[in-house]
């Protein structure tokens, strides 16, 4: 459900209101995407796009987490002792 693909913001086309748009690059091809819901993004950010509109920015810091965790596991012989959190916790 809800195919959402990350692409990189290369250019703002229009930054105001419900018609705001930016050019997003997906591995070599670009498309103008509606940005009404992600107005705060900057050129260079990765944007999650669904059905032609941006639904979020990709959080670059959070994106690294899993790899850091896996790296820790790999470094640490006893990695299975210090079980990593899979994600942030909200009770």
């Amino acid at each position: 459900m809800c195919l959402g693909i990350p692409g990189q913001l290369v250019r703002w086309v229009e930054r105001e209101g419900i018609f705001s748009q930016a050019e997003i690059e997906f591995d070599g091809v670009r498309r103008v995407v509606h940005m009404a819901c992600v107005t705060e993004a900057e050129v260079g950010d990765y944007i999650l796009v669904h059905a032609g509109i941006a639904i979020n920015r990709i959080d670059a810091r959070e994106a690294e987490r899993i790899f850091e965790t896996l790296a820790e596991w790999g470094d640490d012989e006893g990695w299975h002792e210090s079980l990593p959190e899979g994600g942030e916790h909200e009770s």
């Binding site: 018609f19 899979g86 994600g87």
Partner: protein, 361 residues
């Protein structure tokens, strides 16, 4: 592609797989809510690798599959009118209503056009003022901001030739109706990542508290899925049940406030018929008062049709995890992608189609 390919890394996946096997003391039953997750699990071989370790059952998360037949029939009726251009996502075209699919309607002369975005349908309406452009708005909360934006743009352009068949559904009421059933088998949920991107996941607090089931917000790539499964199993092994976000690069706790505001402004929560489920309280969205002029049902009031339900399809059981698709007596026999008895066989996200494609018949 950045943020896709690295999450498909086989070596990293193998590490997570091993960890899942290591921590599991028994075979837990997890439901992946979203059809996209189902496809990814099968396509990337995860379901096969985890056989015997974890039981993955498929949830109601394919908006195409649960779209009410009456809506499809209505869309087909409109498509056949010479003044109407019916637009929708490619996904909807092969799903059968009681009288055939939109593709059938086109084969019989109806005008049906695929768009990539609801905003593209607004553009079509602007460029073809002599046509009534109708957008068949299916999808969960993920898609609702796009269609809400389409409505607002159409209003701004003062288009009187654009309207929607609103068939948006809400995922959480369906999960609730599912666990309210006495014979459900779900021990933890992988919540649908992109719905949460828009809506956030605060609303699951009450769900977790009430049903005491782990809920893990989960993405769509192999590493995302494995991470979500691992988190669920750890909770289960620890006898815990809490709300956890394993898709934090795309999901914040409150979701996307602008997108939620947009949905809130244009739509209201309403009861809704889900195909295979029946009426689900608060299970869908409908246009609010100020936007009712964009409602295709009102504009083409004369086109309603009685619904003929196909009772042979076991989609309710499949979509509530009671039945694996190959266990359906029709699967692969009367029911194939060419001759679907039900929506889950025809939508590219449907669980039956996923099994038919990836599991081999």
């Amino acid at each position: 592609m950045k943020y896709l390919d690295e999450y498909r890394d086989p070596a990293a996946a193998q590490v997570l797989l091993d960890e899942i096997r290591r921590v599991s003391t028994r075979c837990w039953t997890l439901m992946e809510v979203c059809g996209g997750q189902t496809h990814s699990l099968l396509r990337h071989g995860i379901a096969a690798e985890l056989q015997g370790t974890v039981e993955l059952i498929h949830g109601p998360g394919c908006p195409v599959c649960v779209t009410d037949q009456a809506d499809i029939d209505f869309a087909c009726q409109l498509a056949k009118r010479s003044d109407v251009m019916l637009t929708s996502f490619g996904d909807m075209l092969r799903v059968p209503g009681s009288q055939g699919s939109l593709l059938d309607a086109r084969t019989r002369g109806g005008q049906v056009r695929i768009v990539y975005s609801p905003l593209d349908a607004v553009e079509l309406a602007r460029r073809q003022p002599e046509k009534q452009v109708v957008f068949f708005a299916v999808g969960f909360e993920t898609t609702a901001p796009a269609t809400a934006l389409a409505v607002k743009q159409a209003a701004q352009y003062q288009l009187d030739n654009f309207s929607l068949i609103v068939s948006h559904v809400r995922v959480q009421p369906a999960m609730e109706s599912l666990v309210e059933s006495p014979d459900h088998r779900v021990q933890a949920f992988l919540a649908a990542g992109h719905v949460c991107t828009v809506m956030g996941y605060q609303s699951y607090d009450r769900f977790v508290a009430r049903y005491q089931l782990p809920v893990i917000v989960t993405g769509f790539e192999p590493l995302d899925l494995l991470q979500g499964i691992l988190a669920g199993i750890r909770q289960l092994e620890a006898g815990e049940a809490w709300l956890e976000n394993c898709y934090s690069r795309a999901v914040q706790v409150a979701g996307n406030q602008s997108a939620r505001d947009l949905v809130q402004e244009v739509y209201q929560v309403s009861d809704c018929r889900w195909r295979g489920f029946g009426l689900i309280a608060s299970g869908g969205l409908s246009l609010r008062e100020p936007w009712l002029r964009f409602d295709a049902r009102a504009r083409f009031a004369e086109c309603g049709l009685p619904v003929i339900l196909n009772s042979a399809c076991r989609s309710f059981d499949v979509m509530t995890g009671q039945l694996k698709p190959p266990e359906c007596p029709h699967f692969g026999k009367q029911c194939t992608p060419e001759t679907p008895l039900g929506a889950p066989m025809v939508s590219s996200e449907g669980a039956c189609a996923a099994y038919f494609r990836y599991a081999g018949v």
